[in-house]
Amino acid sequence: MKLDPIATLQLQLARLPGIGPRSAARLAFYIIKTSQAQGKNANLAEDLAQSLLDVQKEVRLCRECQNLCTEEYCSICRDPRRDQSTLCVVEAVPDMQALEKSGTFRGLYHVLHGVLAPLEGVGPEELKLEYLLDRTKNKSVEEVIIATNANVDGDATALYLASLLEPQELRITRLAMGVPLGSELEYLDSATLSRALLERKDMVNT
């Protein structure tokens, strides 16, 4: 039996996260419509197909920090101006991009591509934590900043990592938590607010 290409395209698109059958149908028909027409969007289908093949062929993990890149080492690891002595551990590439956007951090990263979640079958081996330990041991790393998310799995991962790193006698830190910039106390959830209170800072003589 010959498969209907329109239906197949819809089904393929619906496999993407955040895309339901309706959005998939809308996207599919848009792609089909533009590929039939003439004009600026005429090559959308071909362009898209090419891009998909390109990322599959060219994108790989940085040998150093596990970031996504197209060469052996990512642009951050190749940059000699980055501080080689601090390492920031993040759950995923978007987290790293967010930190980069802040412009405050000038050290190197390590991307875990996940967090410990025994329920979902993610343990220390799946996160390749051994590799991270080798990295901190062999390079001149002095501080590891753990920047996993502030939820059950993220916090457990941070604790676990800290216990693994402890023998290496490094400085191990965790991102601070508290009042977001520009927010009003009135609207803050009580958990964040009590954490901010506990971790308050002296204003004079610091």
Partner: protein, 368 residues
């Protein structure tokens, strides 16, 4: 908070109801199996998103129909809101003021209800799980922020249990550090869960004893205590007791493949005049105790939220004697909440004059 209009479509045995309500007392009478509880259940779903009975989604939908609709127009602190629940065979969707609902907790804090259904009688003599559910629901209504804490606690427990289970089934070696990392989450959130329950209980205590004295169920004292589910070694720190208890139960936990100590094992104990209610309370006393707890819950919500929640009483008076029923109704009047009450009509209820009285027969509602 009160309901101004209720619409039901194809809900269980009810084909269609569309009725405006303007008074505080709504009485629904009818013979058995005509739809009284179904109607009250619909109100419960509009507040909590789920039923108190174990049901499949398709059970809610009247035979030979595709979906059922529950629509409530409520007025809360002078603002009108509309809650729409649509139940289909495979999914449930809820809209508040024509916008999709983000979280069930939002719904719960918008449409506060306190409900009494005959199954609640099991609260006193039934399993600890029922009592935990009751106190957790109170905590959630009194402190809406606690929802995230409860969720994180359940998640930590599941993660820890999954590590233990994999070890028990010999699928994986035991990584003690990994277990410890999740223990700390469990302790952090478990201690908060315990505190929320304790705070909620302290709030309830202020009123329960008063109601029980009035109900003539106790002569001098009621004691309610929260069994923490953790042996308390250190009265100053629940966290350190919990940490020690986890360490001590380590071997048993490994053998059984689950966590045997913690707030997931806690319980409420009731003592009426020095006698343990679980083993000594009579049917009537149990019923009065549960009602007193629910009235106290209502009173605390009123204090915290600033307006009285809706009260639902399903077949409440069938086992209360005349004087207790009269007192119950007086207490409700004092609370000033809207009350939906169902009765088979076998007992003569002394309901205040200002009321709606509906009869339900075979799912059809008629005002008398």
């Amino acid at each position: 908070m009160y309901i101004e209009r209720l619409q039901l479509k194809n809900f269980r045995n009810i084909e269609s109801i569309n009725t405006a309500v303007e008074k505080s007392w709504v009485v629904i009478s009818g013979n058995n199996a005509q739809g009284k509880t179904n109607l009250l259940e619909a109100l419960y779903i509009a507040s909590t998103g789920q039923s108190f009975r174990k049901s499949l989604l398709s059970d809610f939908i009247k035979d030979n129909h595709e979906n059922s609709i529950i629509r409530c127009q409520i007025i809360k602190q002078n603002v009108r809101h509309q809650i729409d629940v649509q139940l289909q065979k495979t999914k449930r969707s809820i809209r508040v003021d024509d916008k999709p609902l983000r979280s069930l907790t939002k719904l719960l804090s918008l449409m506060n209800i306190v409900a009494f259904f005959p199954d609640d009688l099991m609260l006193v003599k039934g399993s600890p799980e029922g009592r935990r559910k009751f106190i957790d629901r109170c905590a959630l209504s009194f402190y809406p922020d606690s929802a995230d804490i409860f969720k994180a606690f359940r998640r930590s427990l599941k993660e820890r249990n999954s590590i233990l289970r994999k070890y028990q089934r010999q699928e994986q070696k035991l990584d003690v550090q990994l277990l410890k990392a999740f223990d700390e989450q469990l302790i952090k959130y478990g201690a908060k869960v315990h505190q929320y329950r304790k705070d909620a209980l302290d709030e309830l205590k202020k009123y329960v004893e008063h109601y029980l004295l009035e109900f003539n169920v106790i002569k001098d004292s009621l004691e309610i205590s929260l069994e923490p589910g953790v042996p308390i070694h250190d009265i100053n720190s629940f966290q350190s007791s919990y940490r020690r208890a986890l360490a001590e139960s380590m071997q048993i936990d490994q053998i059984r493949g689950l966590t045997t100590v913690g707030p997931q094992r806690s319980d409420l104990l009731f003592n009426l005049d020095g006698k343990e209610a679980k083993s000594f309370a009579s049917q009537g006393q149990q019923r009065s105790l549960v009602l007193a707890l629910k009235l106290a819950e209502l009173k605390v919500i009123e204090e915290k939220v600033g307006c009285a929640p809706l009260l639902i009483l399903d077949d409440v008076s069938s086992e209360l004697d005349q004087t207790r029923t009269e007192y119950l109704f007086k207490a409700i009047e004092d609370l000033g909440c809207q009350v939906w009450i169902s009765t088979t009509g076998s007992v003569d209820l002394k309901i205040p004059k200002e009321n709606h009285h509906f009869n339900i027969t075979n799912g059809a509602l008629k005002e008398l």
